[in-house]
């Protein structure tokens, strides 16, 4: 029976709905691709000055490299790199000079003219002189134009992986020299590159809005417009994707997240890099009993990598040494000598504890980052170690404080998660060289184990690696480094965690994402329907 009250109630709701008049949050727009990353707003669109990963997304659409691998992957060997702004390159016999022939007729955005060798020299020199990755270019002695369309880069030491270690790094993406000099500090919000998209507007509260570069030298971007948006809160970002408000989003790397969103919206795609982030467990050799090899081996055998992979499925993959198996110096499980396979084995872990003088286990205090990917791994490890008698007391802190504690020798079992390229020497220099030793004043590097300082390390092998001129020799020595680390066990490769992007059912990226940095090109993307 319809009562007056019911009638009024229904009318009120209907009126409200009509008045608000927007039942559909977003009208489908097949010309604009909207991507949301996990940050609160853009900081800069200058690839040499980005200080947050989210800003690399728009930089990757605006700027280009001299050479790059196929879309959706890293170059794992020199042959994997294809011409981009350079059409060809050659190396001197001593491996110290790389000469690049530049593509002719490449136009910068918004009428800023043709790219020439001067722009390339400027782009490299500014990365070497200042920016967010100065150390990465320390091996460069000089960058000179040897013609209008030719550039020669001279190195201090040969580098068979130069294309991966330097050329395919964001800080040396090619910028317009003229535009940067004209715009000064404003270049960061009004950047000029050669990429398939140019910046229409840079809005610090919302994001970066781009449109197709009409004079692009290659195949034109398939979408007319791109919006690189910022939604820091993972719930808000997820709801935006589910509602169709955005087309793609940086996923939440927490256990069960993919399964949850799949349950709410069918047909979603998930693009994942493999390996994505290396997760490395550093044993702090200055903190007993971690100075004992048996104890480190016991911990390694007590950690069930498969349990971690399962908890973070499908984003996680097993790794058996420091570098993952699909990297040049990484090892597959069966390729490792039997004594270096750190398989999950509780009985073996207990025996090693006994041999190390701790038959009943021990207690250890560990600092943990509150970031979901770190926290998840630490919680699983805590539970696994408890089973062999190691009681881990976790202190959860914010991510910045966590890294500060790690860098000041205040942690014991330090996990470091980082998306590292398949450039073995870079990884070893970062984590295992004595020169990267972490110091109590916080001014040291990321060798959180003190490997090479408190325990003879791999410095000699790294020196050998630095002098190799062929990729095969480079990998050969690199694999020796990998085995030495596995034998000494100052650090342990935990399962990797893919950088993941969730994509709407109607969005086609145009290629498959297999690996690569935590950002990729949208030039081939299309929206159907």
């Amino acid at each position: 029976m319809i009562t007056r009250r019911k009638l009024l109630g229904t009318a009120a709701i209907a009126t409200a709905a009509t008045g608000l008049g927007a039942p559909t949050v977003r009208a489908a727009n097949a010309d604009t691709l909207k991507f949301a990353s996990a940050a609160s707003g853009p900081r800069t669109a200058d690839p040499n000055r980005t200080t947050q990963g989210a800003d690399n997304w728009h930089c990757a659409q605006i700027f280009e490299y001299l050479a790059s691998p196929e879309d959706g992957d890293f170059g794992k060997q020199p042959g994997d790199f294809k011409p981009a702004l350079a059409t060809s390159w050659k190396t001197s016999a001593d491996g110290k000079t790389w000469t690049f022939a530049l593509r002719q007729g490449v136009q910068f955005h918004k009428g800023h003219g043709e790219m020439t060798a001067d722009d390339v020299v400027h782009s490299f020199m500014r990365a070497k002189a200042g920016g967010t990755a100065v150390s990465n270019y320390a091996n460069i002695t000089s960058v000179k134009a040897s013609g209008k369309y030719e550039v020669a880069v001279t190195l201090q030491n040969p580098d068979p992986m130069f294309l991966g270690s330097v050329i395919f790094t964001k800080n040396v993406m090619v910028v317009s020299k003229k535009a940067e000099e004209e715009k000064g500090d404003k270049f960061g919000t009004d950047p000029i590159g050669t990429g398939p998209y140019q910046v229409d507007s840079f809005e610090i509260q919302k994001g970066v809005f781009l449109s197709r570069h009409p004079q692009y030298w290659g195949e034109a971007g398939r979408m007319a417009k791109l919006q690189c948006l910022y939604i820091a809160d993972s719930t808000a970002r997820t709801l935006a994707l589910l509602s169709g408000d955005i087309d793609m989003m940086e996923a939440v790397r927490a256990p069960g997240w993919i399964q949850q969103v799949q349950g709410r919206k069918s047909g979603l795609h998930f693009d994942m890099t493999a390996p994505g982030s290396f997760n490395t467990l550093f044993f702090n050799l200055s903190k007993p009993p971690l100075d004992r090899l048996e104890i480190r081996q016991a911990i390694a055998h007590a950690i069930d990598a498969k349990a971690i992979v399962q908890a973070l499925t499908p984003m996680s993959r097993e790794t058996y040494t420091l570098n993952p198996p699909n990297y040049p110096t990484g090892f597959a499980h069966d390729d490792l000598p039997a004594e270096l396979r750190l398989d999950y084995d509780q009985a073996k872990a207990k025996a090693l504890l006994k041999a190390g003088g701790f038959p009943n286990g021990f207690k250890i205090n560990v600092n943990v980052s509150q970031r979901p990917d770190y926290r998840s791994q630490y919680l699983i490890i805590q539970e696994l170690l408890r089973k062999v008698g190691i009681e881990v007391n976790l202190s959860i802190m914010d991510h910045t404080a966590y890294h500060d504690a790690n860098r000041r020798n205040l942690n014991t079992l330090t996990i470091n998660s980082s998306s590292l390229p398949p450039v073995p020497l870079y990884v070893y220099d970062l984590y295992a060289a004595s020169g990267a030793n972490m110091t109590e004043d916080g001014k040291g590097g990321q060798n959180y184990s003190h490997y090479g300082v408190l325990l003879p390390g791999v410095d000699d092998l790294l020196k050998q690696m630095l002098q190799t001129t062929s990729f095969d020799d480079y990998v050969k020595v690199g694999r020796q480094v990998e085995l030495k680390i596995q034998r000494d066990l100052p650090m342990l490769g935990l399962p990797t965690l893919s950088y993941t992007v969730a994509r709407g059912p109607n969005v086609d990226l145009g290629y498959e994402v297999k690996g690569g940095y935590a950002y990729w090109s949208f030039a081939k993307a299309t929206i159907t329907g």
Partner: protein
């Protein structure tokens, strides 16, 4: 009155200065290196040293403090550690969104809360009063961010009535985007204002002059609104001031949930990144806001209650 306002403003300077000094030193005592936060976990020692030097972070703390005060004297809050943007630019971009949210939420809170309070007071110990009590209990108990997430799922995702995120452009666009976050804050604030109105009105309705008004034959509506509510507004004005400040602090979480730009979201990000200049700038804004709201409430007090006279 002008002298009174000026005196109050001048009197607030030591408070703001103290807050800023505390924030300046507290942030630097907290563990966390802005250089690592800015350059990433893999930053090399040489890069970090270069960055610290560029940002003046390698200078002794007292010298950093002097630089900070010198900048403040010319209203220069410095540059964000994380971007090339001036802090004043960041604040100017974000502040209007926070004010828009706070004002809308307080207005909705008043429009909802005062009638609910009147209803509860005039139906003491009956169903409306009980309902108001339960509503208040829920209002006090539910955190802003949780209520925001629920409203977002129901009204934006399921029903599609409101946008999922952002702040919109233009008056109508802004209004359309601010409604749901404002309601999130207002529902909780209306519970507070409702309880306050009820208590204040009940107190007033028991006074002699109200009894006299009734004895003179004044209608119940006139007694409640003319004699009762007007006098009940006095303590209510203090409550409204507190409510504005609570709404402002609540906006921090709500901005995050609804992905609205605003000083709150800016501040949260800056704290995570140890972006000292932005934190300091944000705190100045919040501190000034507190001072100004308190001052405004004192002035309102004077107008609401003619018995109160300003003594500057």
């Amino acid at each position: 009155m002008a002298r009174y306002i000026l005196a109050r403003l001048l009197g607030a300077i030591p408070t703001v200065f103290l807050v800023l000094t505390l924030v300046f030193f507290a942030m630097r005592i907290l563990p966390g290196d802005p250089a690592v936060a800015a350059l990433g976990d893999n930053a090399q020692p040489a890069q970090l040293a270069q960055y610290r030097a560029k940002m003046g972070l390698d200078a002794p703390l007292p010298l950093q403090y002097v630089h900070f005060l010198a900048g403040l004297a010319v209203l220069d809050f410095g540059q964000s550690f994380m971007s090339d943007t001036r802090v004043s630019t960041l604040l100017l971009h974000n502040l209007p969104y926070t004010i828009e949210l706070t004002v809308t939420a307080v207005l909705i809170g008043l429009v909802l809360g005062i009638p609910l309070g009147v209803l509860a007071a005039t139906h003491r110990n009956r169903l409306p009063d009980d309902a108001m009590r339960i509503y208040s209990l829920i209002g006090y108990a539910i955190p802003d961010f949780y209520l925001g997430a629920i409203l977002l799922v129901v009204f934006s995702l399921w029903l599609g009535w409101f946008p999922i995120n952002g702040a919109g452009t233009g008056f109508w666009g802004g209004l359309y985007h601010v409604i749901l976050p404002a309601i999130t804050l207002a529902l909780l604030k209306s519970a507070f204002i409702g309880r306050l109105t009820r208590a204040s009105l009940l107190d007033v309705l028991g006074r002699d002059y109200v009894r006299t008004a009734r004895a003179k034959g004044a209608g119940e509506r006139r007694v409640i609104y003319r004699h009762g509510l007007r006098n009940a507004l006095l303590p209510l004005s203090t409550g409204i001031g507190l409510s504005i400040l609570a709404t402002l602090s609540g906006s921090v979480a709500v901005e995050l949930v609804f992905n609205r730009p605003g000083v709150g979201q800016l501040l949260i990000e800056a704290i995570h990144q140890r972006d000292y200049p932005v934190i300091q700038g944000g705190v100045i804004i919040f501190a000034l806001f507190v001072v100004l709201v308190n001052l405004a409430m004192d002035i309102v007090y004077v107008f609401v209650d003619p018995r109160v006279r300003v003594q500057a």
